[in-house]
Symmetry: C2
Subunit: 411 residues, 2 copies
């Protein structure tokens, strides 16, 4: 109709449905992959190197230190399970229970760290994997402890009625929680009605495709690591150019990782376990503030922080800003823990990167609104991450590879 | 909240707000441009070649054939204006008026074609520009004729009351229509209240940036033209790889062109003329059928076709499918006209490309739904266009450049 109206792409227009742009990204990704696959095929023939993939995780094929670490983690699950049973039966006091929990949780964080630092046969990738598993377990058992305590407190008020969780087989339910894609324990998780085989299969194919058959990823990885080593010449305009060249493939890898982990893998596991709550992320791509991004890109961690860290702090009388900063501080600690220990390098780049979010969040919220705010969030993701990555890769190269002539030449 | 819910990116979820992804595209575009600009600056220094840009439009700096053609087009505007005046005053009959119009409109299409074909000093870019201006004028004057006739017919019924259009200065209003970003004549265009200087400036900067200071565009153009010449070796897997390599930059150029022309330029002109109806495109990026894409990507042409071609055909008793095919046929004719004449090559690739949309539209509507349909539309855009472009560039090279050793060597 002929009337006064704005174009859809104008910020003045209220139109916001861009689902098609997402499909565009997928089509472009698949096409680029197809082209690179065909190019590699024409140039080198079929080229699959499973040894190379395995060597990321293992140095010696007869010793599996990371896998052993993961198996040992069962001990900590059982400690939590039996402490909780004793507490429920009333055979140990709340104080003793808390002490056992504190001890158990501390060991969960320290034991794998010591093993990774002391055992030279663990590769950085294997170490990061094991530490990741232990960190997730730490958060899950912390939640398990809190929720069970809250329940006991509530049932004490209600004249010690039987807790609903006792109606389940406790051990099975504990393992369901350990494998479920969530960090927050619930007495009754919402369950989906059945396993949709088509959905399961599509997620499985996505994970397989994105993890293994993606030449784009390999080419991007190679391109992102290669130019780092120019950093040693301190020419600023050249450094900026190299950083920008590194930023785009690094960012694409992060996006692929996000989709592969938070959408495909988690939905796959959830479908398999008939786990109903699939809110693993919210619309962080529309974030107009840094805070909105951190609250919405990783919902399992966000929910955990809110329920077991931020709200308890508020209840104990801490201010909002202090509690928020404490959450960022804890997050910064875990980022550093997951990067420094496997690399055996303590540089605090990851820690500082997380802490830098606080002044950045203030700046964006203060000066930028709407689409400009959103662009600033994207820019901080695209530029911020590779700076941290660059620092680590650079330092890792300087300490590990500089004396190795084969690596120096290859790069 | 912990409840049964799907992930936002699942097709089962009803969430559709991806405005942030659009901002992501803009940020990525600006960053890629910045990187290429910096790279060029580091490698070659500041490099601006206005002569090269001008030489696209002019062969001889003292003869401006395309510009002369555009100036001459005023004659046809005046013929239409004075025919209409005579018709309004009743000094010529409807039949005579129609004959003059038919003659005028035929000359509008044939005269520039003959000039472009006969005058060797017109470059392909200059010729395409002049023919584009004449085609737009043809569509506008056709609409002018129709609307005025409809008004006369209506006012005849209402006892020949004074037409509202007479209250305007006809000549000024005619030129307002000629410059307005629409093809459909109205007696009263909706007008915006004032010229927003900020909006005007932003659109102006966008056009300038996208047209001139975009090294990404130049690099994409170069990459898209270069590999075409491998076509002569008929190796199919290699041809596919080259086509895919050409498809992505070609598609990016098309997207930039779309934004630059349909958003920035048209909004700039509309703001300047206080032209209120800014619906130059609708959400074609969400198209789930080929038909939806053609109905929504170019609203001025779509509105014209609907009002002056499709609906009149239906009124005369033609079927829906026949009328739709006729619209595609007319569109195919104009596509061919705008490409073949400036290149002085009649190959029918553009014509066939347009006509191929009909069976494609049937196929997509019949077999694909939702996100799959949308992906098919994107794929037809990304792959379909470069095939046609490839055909023309290939043929142009074979007929024009093969004997020229400097060009053959440069490629």
């Amino acid at each position: 109709a002929v009337r006064l109206q704005e174009s859809m792409l104008s910020s003045a227009s209220s139109f916001k449905n861009y689902r098609g742009i997402l499909n565009w990204c997928v089509v472009m990704l698949v096409l680029s992959n197809a082209r690179l696959f065909l190019e590699n095929l024409l140039r080198y023939g079929i080229l699959v190197d499973p040894i190379q993939v395995v060597s990321l995780f293992l140095k010696d094929p007869y010793s599996w230190p990371a896998a052993c670490l993961v198996i040992v983690s069962n001990v900590f699950i059982f400690v939590a399970l039996y402490t909780e049973r004793k507490l429920a039966m009333g055979s140990i006091s709340e104080k003793v229970g808390l002490l056992i929990y504190i001890f158990n949780l501390t060991v969960i964080l320290c034991f794998p760290m010591v093993v990774v630092l002391k055992l030279p046969s663990i590769t950085p990738v294997g170490g990061a994997f094991a530490l990741g598993v232990y960190t997730i377990l730490f958060l899950k058992l912390y939640s398990y402890k809190d929720v069970n305590r809250w329940c006991r407190e509530r049932t004490q008020v209600k004249a010690r009625s039987l807790s609903r969780s006792l109606s389940y087989d406790r051990r099975t339910y504990m393992y369901y929680f350990v494998f479920a894609p969530t960090l927050c324990y619930e007495l009754n998780f919402p369950r989906s009605e059945s396993i949709r085989m088509g959905f399961l299969l599509r997620r499985f194919v996505q994970v397989l495709y994105l993890l293994f058959f993606s030449p784009l990823k390999r080419s991007a990885l190679f391109n992102s690591v290669k130019p780092v080593f120019i950093l040693q010449e301190m020419d600023y305009s050249r450094m900026t150019e190299r950083l920008l060249r590194l930023a785009v493939p690094n960012h694409l890898i992060w996006l692929i990782f996000f989709y592969c982990f938070f959408h495909s893998s988690m939905n796959f596991v959830a479908e398999l376990l008939r786990f109903g709550d699939r809110e693993f992320y919210r619309d962080w791509w529309n974030s107009e503030t840094i805070t909105y991004f951190w609250q919405n890109w990783n919902i399992p961690v966000h929910k955990w922080c809110l329920r077991h860290f931020y709200k308890p702090l508020l209840r104990r009388g801490a201010g909002k800003l202090l509690s928020q900063s404490a959450v960022f501080f804890a997050s910064a600690f875990f980022h550093e823990y997951l990067v420094s220990v496997p690399l055996r390098m303590f540089r605090l780049w990851a820690f500082m990167g997380m802490m830098a979010q606080l002044p950045l969040a203030w700046f964006v919220a203060r000066f930028l609104r709407g689409n400009y705010g959103n662009a600033a969030v994207w820019l901080s993701l695209i530029i911020g991450q590779p700076i941290a990555v660059l620092m680590y890769v650079h330092d890792y190269y300087v300490t590990h590879c500089q004396d190795d002539p084969t690596i120096s030449e290859a790069l």
